[in-house]
Amino acid sequence: MSSEIDQNIFGTVPDAYGRFGEYGGKYVAETLMSALSELETLYNKLSLDPDFQRELDQDLAHYVGRPSPLYEARRWSEQIGGARIFLKREDLNHTGAHKVNNTVGQALLAKHMGKKRVIAETGAGQHGVATATIAARLGLECQIFMGEEDVRRQALNVYRMKLLGAEVIPVSSGSKTLKDAMNEAMRDWVTNVDDTFYIIGTVAGPHPYPAMVRDFQCVIGREAREQSLAQVGKLPDALVACIGGGSNAIGLFHPFLNDQSVAMYGVEAGGRGMSSGEHAAPLNAGSPGILHGNRTYLMQDEDGQILHTHSISAGLDYPGVGPEHAWLKDIGRVSYVVANDDEALAAFHTLTRVEGIMPALESSHALAYAAKLAADMRPDQHIVVNLSGRGDKDIHTVAELDGIQF
């Protein structure tokens, strides 16, 4: 399918308006437009500045602990009996997920802009923790917006953020999850735009965030590409990553987009099953619309109201998706598929028992799909799965499902 795509187009998006084809853009209230322009100008300058890149690379190496390993899950692959499965171990990063790759980058930008305060939205709490962490290190005031429902199911991460000196602000409007946390963070940013830097955690939001967050996360795919060549002697046959907003997926996929032989699968949260309607899979079951500053696929009703979503994993419980994924779907470069709650939970248990690695429930969606994919592939082929985070934060959720109270 990808052979029909002009291989030179991937470096051309977004355009000057932040558009990926008909997606992306800057759909925000006027108050924020000049702040976005300021950020865009600074980012364009610093992303070409060798000193900034050196500073970022230093942080990624010595603070985050990069490169993260590419680990072959031999026992699991053998059980499945198909392609070899490799795990890109973003769970081993400082703070336990890929989110920190981006917060380190954006916090450096905040420092260059002289901002004293950072804010962030969080769903599973991983982005909140990663933001609180970097704020502690740089001595920045930090407030994290988190839906009340997520505060409840991610109590451990809430406490981690508090320990790091951040204030966690529960959001009780709407569905009390990630989308509402993002609304509230936007409202705060509009109010405090002079001294505050908004660290968006995913490849959504208004331009330049989708491109900027992608660039910070591309370290995942660059490393995976080199590691695959070094360890296997060839590029992977397939990449698999879970998609909420889509930052870990775009980080893995983007450096491979020009490699026609590499198939890519973005796994959305199928929740209680696609036919139940209780899921968080806008690319599979949604339609284009405008939310949180960009045009993209959304879970919405026929009147354009945003629908409540459901996923067992708080980090995927979001009605939108990054605009670049919307574009990659339309041009057919990436396949967007689903794994439901039960499949993800099964994959969580399997990886834990078979490989001694406890994955985040978000990443477990990617694992669930990878297992199905691998079974239909040959042993001389290999898959790279983005193990985007570790599962410690989900122990309460899993225990509750098993009927265990602490």
Binding site: V28, S34, D180, G304, Q305
Partner: protein, 273 residues
């Protein structure tokens, strides 16, 4: 001539300023909105601004967020809002009506379909908070086709070059957001507003209305002294919400909101202009 332009010209001749109340359509029920609109006109409204309920009203403070939730709970959707205006027009063909809302319900209906339906319903203008001039081309083409005005926001953070960009796309009037923040927040500094309005006037001859932070007759009359129009939103929505908390019936809710607007009208007409 558009109803909005005509209304501002008429007011200018009388030496008065436009009073523009904002309510959320369908808050707290679908039935109340049309009678409330008529009552607001009787209380001195020059232009009516109707909020279109949206699940994610990102520019709103808590007061108006709750109003959006109440209206959505009652099932109020964009097409219902259009019907309400059509019904309002049966008795009032003079008062301009402006819809204020967010991009997605309009985009979902389709810009062309929205323009046709809104025009047919007797709506004069649209203000989509999250469609800045960079993204407005498609919508503006459709609004112009049916001779509807497109109202844009200018903020305290808007630099001069953007003011020009906005002025080039805007018609009817320009809405100056007096505060950095969400609706219903903060405290206004009239001198600062006056300075900003002078800057905007270098880029446009359109009337300038000011909103965000105008709470009562005192603040409204102060702003009326420097602007062409005054938008009052959260104060009215809060007034309605207070009535709801006291279990008031629709008639008393309408009376209390209209009463507050009448008080603001008297304040504006006695001073400032």
């Amino acid at each position: 001539m558009s109803r909005i332009k005509g209304r501002f010209e008429q007011l200018a001749q009388q030496g008065r300023k436009a009073l523009i109340p904002y309510i959320v359509a369908g808050d707290p029920s679908k039935d109340i909105t049309v009678p409330l609109m008529h009552a607001l006109v009787e209380a001195g409204a020059d232009i009516l601004e109707l909020g279109v309920p949206f699940s994610d009203p990102m520019a709103e403070g808590p007061t108006i967020q709750l109003a959006h939730e109440r209206a959505l709970d009652e099932g109020t959707r964009l097409r219902d809002v259009l019907e309400m205006v059509a019904q309002f027009r049966e008795r009032d063909k003079e008062t301009p009506v402006l819809l204020m809302g967010y991009a997605n319900p309009v985009a979902r209906m389709g810009y062309a379909q929205f323009a046709d339906a809104a025009h047919a319903a007797g709506i004069d203008a649209a203000l989509t908070v999250d469609i800045p001039p960079e993204e407005v081309a498609l919508l503006n083409t459709e609004l112009r086709r049916v001779a509807m005005d497109n109202i844009f926001l200018i903020a305290p953070t808007t630099p001069d070059e953007r003011m020009q960009l906005i002025a080039d796309q805007a018609s009817g009037f320009i809405y100056y957001v007096a505060l950095k923040g969400v609706t219903g927040a903060g405290h206004l500094d009239t001198d600062q507003v006056a300075t900003q309005l002078a800057r905007i006037r270098q880029h446009t001859e359109l009337p300038l209305a000011v909103g965000f932070g105008i709470k009562d007759a005192t603040s409204a009359s102060a702003i009326a002294g420097v602007a062409d129009g005054v938008v009052v939103g959260s104060a009215l929505v809060q007034c309605l919400s207070d009535g709801l908390a006291a279990n008031e019936q629709p008639e008393s809710l309408i009376a209390r909101v209209a009463g507050l607007l009448a008080e603001i009208r008297r304040g504006m007409d006695n001073t400032g202009s």
